[in-house]
Amino acid sequence: MTIHPTSAQFPANAHKALHDPQLQKAFNHVRSAFIDKRAKAAAALPEFEALRDSARDIKAHTLKHLDVYIEAYEAKVREAGGTVHFARDAAEARAAIVEICRARGARTVTKGKSMVSEEIGLNDALHAAGIEPVETDLGEYIIQLRGEVPSHIIAPAVHLTKEQVEADFRRLHLHLHPDRDLSDAQLLLTEARAILRERFLAADIGITGANFLIAETGTSVIVTNEGNGDLTQILPKVHIVLAAIDKLVPTRNDVAQLLRVLARSATGQEMSVYTTFSTGPRRAEDPDGPEEYHVILLDNGRSTMLGTEFEDMLRCIRCGACMNHCPVYQAVGGHAYGWIYPGPMGAVLTPSLIGIDKAGHLPNASTFCGRCEAVCPVRIPLPRMMRNWREKEFERHLSPAPVRNGLKLWAFFAERPALYRAATGLAMRAMALAGRTKGRFTSLPLAGGWTAWRDMPAPQGATFQAQWKARRRGHR
């Protein structure tokens, strides 16, 4: 569905989320599951921290040479018999995909999970062109049935309870016996598997995202646990890969480095079940695989992040660890962020992609506890970037008065570390959210989340405080 951002209404969205008992119940399953599993997987691999450095360096190097890597990648895709279609923005990407589908007379397309597809509002465009998109990732399938958007980048239906899923299946799978047993996750999955199997076999075109695009070989890589992405791309006649320019990596060996931190950070697995490398269409002797292979390579604002203080955000490998570990995300869920990228990565990326005027509140959706940066596999300085956005927002006077006051209050405490520590709870409310939610966030476990991960809860040291002093002088 096309997403009209409601990020500007973050406070209202958050308020609603905090008072949604279903959502709060669903999140009970998440709070510790992801966190404990990641910690265990990281501890079991002595090289994990060194691999994070390596992952960071690979992505940073690629971004600095992105134009050259894209040229190399494109040449390799062509050599393998595929086609790269460049898209400057969402509209161009949608048009390119609809055009391919139309030219082949496609009626249904199966889709692997792709956040970029959500970003460009692809499903609405396909519907409008008379083509039926079928989401095949179980979580995506569920939210498609409900007409929702994902609330998490790797667990799209994390905000739902199994009772809600059961009710949806009963409401929409009308050809099945109304008294059937759907009381557990296994039964729900089995039902979805049977229905989607038919859709896989009937689809004209399969669309997947990509976790990585390899310049060395012109290969796209998808990482899944269900196998839906694979059935999406090997059964239909045409495979379309929809990916953004930040997915480039130099070589297969570089992908191996990134894979070692991706699943561990995301779900605590050592490897996801299926990591699939696809290069061009099927070869003359191949008995299966698509006859055509297209890559839609999307920019949509990313190229302008290069060379700015937000360049590091393009290292993101979409593991979801930052949101899993974020006290604000845990409390309000993904939908409150108002667009498709939630949590700390969304708080930084959304203003970059849709504009600070539409996303101004998001960089405030943080307690600056630092957990996101502490777990990010590519070591993105997320709190620093949120602070950068807040400063920009402040400068542009887009903030309502209570926010500006909140920031002033924070500056006051930031210059007085002892007081700051004593008043963490208060400062938290002032700087994060309460200016606009009138104290609703007192129920958040913010202070605990903060102190558990940091010895010294003052903001990042003298530099920032000095900045504030200078700024205050400037504004007088």
């Binding site: 399953h29 992801f34 002595p46 090289e47 992105l66 134009d67 890597y69 894209i70 040229e71 190399a72 050599e79 393998a80 279609h85 460049f86 990732d137 179980l138 979580g139 569920i142 667990a155 996750a185 296994q186 999955l189 089995t190 598997r193 199997r197 076999l201 012109g218 646990n225 269900e226 196998g227 694979d230 059935l231 090997i234 059964l235 130099p250 070589t251 297969r252 060996n253 191996a256 070692r260 697995q269 050592e270 490897m271 079940v273 299926y274 990591t275 699939t276 490398f277 696809s278 290069t279 191949d286 008995p287 299966d288 695989g289 390579l297 920019d299 190229s303 302008t304 060379g307 700015t308």
Partner: protein, 221 residues
């Protein structure tokens, strides 16, 4: 300007480069040509027997079942046993893999068919190009020998891997691919670690999402 040229131009503008700088091009060319290895976990850097044991251990941790055999000739009866224990019918689909085709399938009660799957097959056997002990991962390569559809459509998937092909790390599999496929890649390379699963409903792990419900790994010495 075409979309392609504009995207590239925008990247260059932001990076403050022209795209013609020899040093940048050389740095990319060198990296692509040498494909440096980064940090390789010690875990997989062990001798052959320890590698086999690690492969079995990690694959089991990912919910696969594992058997180690001493000879390829023992594979058909092991496949038959596995299918019997899984209460699966005595049917089997495989590709044209010469090593699998040469085995005494006729000594079992299995009805064997060859070629890709169109979705009706419950059981399949494939031979892996290699495996990665570090994480219990199988590496399968597309083609007539081992069609990719067999990796995903059947309920029960048996994968045979020669012990000599069990590597310690992914990088070794890639360098073997460079030997067999030059600078290119097969259409599909599948890294498979355990049977299909989903955690999308209340983060409850359920096996058998869209791919196989059971994955049986047969390591042959």
């Amino acid at each position: 300007m075409s979309a392609r040229d504009e995207v590239l131009a925008s990247i260059r503008r932001s990076l403050g480069v022209s795209g013609r700088e020899a040093t940048r091009r050389l740095s990319v060319e060198t990296r692509l040509a040498t494909a440096p290895r980064g940090v390789i976990p010690q875990r997989g850097q062990v001798d052959r027997e320890a590698r086999i044991a690690l492969m079995a251990d990690r694959a089991k941790a990912a919910h696969a079942t594992v058997t180690v055999l001493d000879a390829m000739e023992a594979v058909p009866s092991e496949v038959a046993r596995f299918l019997r224990d899984a209460n699966a019918p005595a049917t089997l689909r495989m590709g044209d893999d010469p090593q699998l085709a040469a085995l005494p399938w006729a000594d079992t009660a299995l009805t064997v068919e060859t070629g890709r799957s169109h979705g009706a097959d419950l059981n399949a056997v494939s031979r892996a190009f290699g495996a990665v002990a570090e994480s219990g991962t199988l590496a399968l390569v597309s083609g007539t020998d081992n069609p990719t559809t067999l990796n995903f459509l059947p309920d029960n998937h048996v994968v045979v891997v020669r012990a000599d092909d069990v590597a310690g790390d992914y990088e070794t599999v890639f360098s073997r691919l460079r030997d067999s496929h030059g600078t290119g890649m097969p259409r599909t390379l599948n890294f498979i670690t355990g049977p299909s699963r989903s955690g999308d409903i209340e983060q409850t792990l359920v096996l058998g999402a869209h791919g196989p419900r059971r994955l049986h790994v047969v390591i042959v010495r």
